[in-house]
Assembly symmetry: C2
DNA sequence: GTCTATACCCTGATAGAC
DNA sequence: GTCTATCAGGGTATAGAC
């Protein structure tokens, strides 16, 4: 049986302590990313906020970028779990107001709930060399589901405003940037407006 | 009469030389911003590309940020001149396809033609502390004209998808981010798609 | 005004004791 | 694994000669 320190509530195995440190770093990073952003947060800021030493950081992550990967992995696990609960994997007809709205609402709430990661990913994307094409790549892959639904629509004979990939990416650009810029907005109001804008446009008949 | 150096084509007054250096720095900055982006461009990169010394930079600008201000001022002067030539200051009814398209086309071409400044401003905006609200502020002020046109529409009795300021900012977000991500796109194709998307939406009747 | 040289600070990353 | 201490590199900004 492993040795334990005298008397306190904390577990004491090496593994557990390591996990605690790792978790503390992730938690600290999260709150700092949301406050000051990813780019302005230094590794030393994270370790300080977590109450650990600078050197300790590298025992868990090779770089700030790798820490972000870990946060992202957590996010994806959470999202998967949520979908498994019974997500609206059925929505396909984006010309149906309720379905379009649902799609936008989910996107908006996921971004808002995971704001630290969202902010970090967005800043990281924009800070990359513009010539690298990373922004286009990220936005495009972020809107895969959307694109699939659009392609589905087009294949069913519904004419679209243009190429599904371009439309999907444009919408992703709008959502990502607006959510980044407007963290404290009333979600329902924003989603309502965007739903209406994307469904029937500026010239849409709203007399009904 | 001021002294001149022996024999060459270059003018030699202090003022002129200073202006040349300043111009060289601005030009160098422009090309570097377009290539590597604003954030990744260091002051030493600019001076090196301009063929000047590091110290010389501070004789003209207090910081990289101030240099960007200067570039922005140039851009605004150019834009003003272009408008004075006979810009489409008449466009008001954004529910008219031609007028909406014209508005979007101008926005897109201005962003593309001044890509170095556009890229720099965008990166600078995103790199700011997320809590500062700068992103919202920038996007909102960037879409003032759009908002005015939308307000005009609403006041004329045309129902909009929501608050004009929100809609205008959402569109600005889409345009800015998409243009940032897609520098080499076929402008006409993009503008066509966005026009159609914003005019009548995904559910718009395109049978005609 | 422009240059060279350099001081200075911040940040990332490592070494070695515990 | 975690800490303290420290180093190396890159980047900003200034000093002083020309």
């Amino acid at each position: 049986m492993p040795r334990r320190s005298a008397a306190e509530g904390e577990p004491a195995t090496r593994k557990e302590r390591a996990a605690q440190t790792r978790a503390a770093l992730l938690t600290a990073a999260r709150s700092l990313f949301a406050e000051r952003g990813y780019l302005n947060t230094k590794i030393t800021d994270i370790t300080a906020a977590a109450g650990r030493s600078t050197g300790s950081f590298y025992e868990h992550f090779a770089s700030k970028d790798e820490l972000l990967e870990a946060l992202l992995a957590d996010l994806e696990n959470a999202a998967d779990a949520r979908l498994a609960d019974g997500g609206p994997e059925t929505a396909h007809d984006l010309t149906d107001r309720a379905q379009l709205r649902e799609h936008l609402a989910i996107a908006w709430s996921v971004m808002s709930e995971h704001r630290p990661v969202t902010v970090a990913l967005f800043q990281s994307m924009i800070a990359a060399d513009p010539a690298s094409g990373r922004a286009w790549h990220d936005l495009t892959s972020r809107s895969e589901t959307l694109r699939d639904h659009l392609t589905y629509l087009r294949d069913r004979g519904h004419p679209l405003p243009g190429d599904p990939e371009l439309i999907g990416t444009a919408i992703a650009a709008m959502l990502s940037t607006l959510n980044y810029a407007l963290p404290d907005a009333d979600a329902d109001a924003v989603v309502d407006t965007l739903t209406d804008l994307l469904l029937t446009g500026l010239a849409g008949d709203r007399t009904a």
